[in-house]
Symmetry: C2
């Protein structure tokens, strides 16, 4: 098997001319797309994968330096697209994957028809100039320390907050289990790469049409961040979801699907 | 998408280091493997595809000349393997796919770890020198004429005979529907390419280890044909199945799986 397919545990399902690639978020894997893919597999060819260090990717491919920032993940995404030899893809990214997809689209705009961003953020930290990313640096450092000291405790603390759908406790449990199933060192480094990323300047370089799906009561990405993205991202469409929490593709798959289909119908 | 993946409607599922490629038989498609794949997808990476003209392949890729014999299909199989960039595959072929896989393994032996042949035949016609393939030439010509004159009638005639599991009438119906869902002209030409093929001399050129799964009461491939194959095919293992009919992967998936797993455990 193409070592890229093995490295990123690439799956290809569905039927159709157009290709959708799904990029999962931090602490997740391709399995998180299972409520969404059935709505698209009759019309699109779907590509699922796990980032190196996540899911059933090849852990031996992990490289501390390469994955110290989002560009390492971006390179892998572009290699997957290259290995598929696909002309133009629709990329659906959750959370940090939105920025990974955007970075990939800046490097190879010709490969992307559109980007669909679920809960994206160009910077998670607040800064001294009034930008409000939602997190103070010391909160993030505390989270990272907790990951190092008590990984299981961190997972059971963060999962219900990030999911924020107490009426669906199975989803918090699933997220917690997903966090716990990963390698703590790799996951902590992915958290660092995510939470300390700052791609606000890159927004101006992006040209591929994009849809920003902003969740309500998202404890990871405040509404202002989605609005900020929309302001600086050329060709972006902003949609406010009724879905609460940071995982609408799990908690509110119907609404997520509806917004994606509505957007894709423009192309 | 790689045009080979689209052309042959390639799917990749499952997890594991080793790769199994499944080749369907005449008048079938990749969906026919659905009872077998669940037994392998936890341990192997599985590749499914449809031959051009079958299933959801790209019909515009059909070329009368190219597919007038099995070498056209063999070329496509090798292109799929190349597009996957896989080092060594296990190829599981049903019926005519067994010979397509064998021809591919003769051309590129380094690509194949083993061949598993379900109901294979190197020649379907009897000949004047005492070879008993099971069909007289005039019977095949009659079948081909019937396909031209009355395709639906041909499908409803052949399906229950080939399936030969009257206690599972749904399977005959499925096979009949599968026959009928194809393009009559293409299917007739695939029948011609299959039934007039003679790869007895190629058997001597094959080197890749192979498993011959011979069905009981197979109206398409008599036991003598499986034994003939075993005699001339170096490194072959012969297993007589209890399964009746020509589609054990549909009618007797447990036994089929057991024989395949037993064989693969040797490697």
């Amino acid at each position: 098997m193409n070592n890229i397919f093995v490295r990123n545990n690439v799956k290809i399902i569905g039927e159709g001319e157009k290709v959708i690639i799904f990029g999962h978020g931090f602490g997740c894997d391709q399995n998180m797309w299972r409520f969404i893919t059935p709505h698209f597999e009759k019309e699109f060819r779907l590509v699922l994968f796990d980032y190196v260090g996540s899911g059933k990717s090849d852990l031996t491919a992990y490289n501390r330096e390469k994955y110290s920032n989002l560009h390492g993940y971006k390179t892998d995404l572009l290699e997957i697209i290259e290995a598929l030899n696909v002309e133009k893809v629709i990329f659906i990214g959750h959370s940090v994957s939105s920025m990974i997809g955007m970075l990939a689209s800046i490097e190879r705009p010709e490969c992307f028809e559109s980007l669909i961003m679920i809960g994206p953020s160009p910077r998670y930290l607040n800064d001294e100039n009034g930008y409000s990313g939602g997190f103070d640096e010391r909160d993030v450092i505390e989270l990272l320390n907790m990951m190092e000291m008590n990984f299981i405790g961190w997972a059971s603390y963060l999962a219900p907050i990030a999911m924020n759908n107490p009426d669906q406790p199975m989803l918090s449990q699933e997220l917690e289990a997903s966090f716990c199933s990963t390698d703590p060192v790799i996951t902590r480094q992915f958290a660092e790469a995510t939470f300390f990323s700052d791609h606000r300047e890159d927004l101006l370089k992006a040209t591929v049409p994009s849809l920003i799906l902003q969740c309500a009561e998202d404890s990871i990405v405040p509404v202002e961040v989605g609005e900020y993205l929309h302001r600086y991202l050329k060709n972006s469409t902003f949609r406010m979801m009724e879905a609460k929490g940071h995982y609408p593709h799990l908690s509110h798959p119907e609404e997520t699907t509806r917004f994606i289909k509505e957007y894709l119908s423009f192309f």
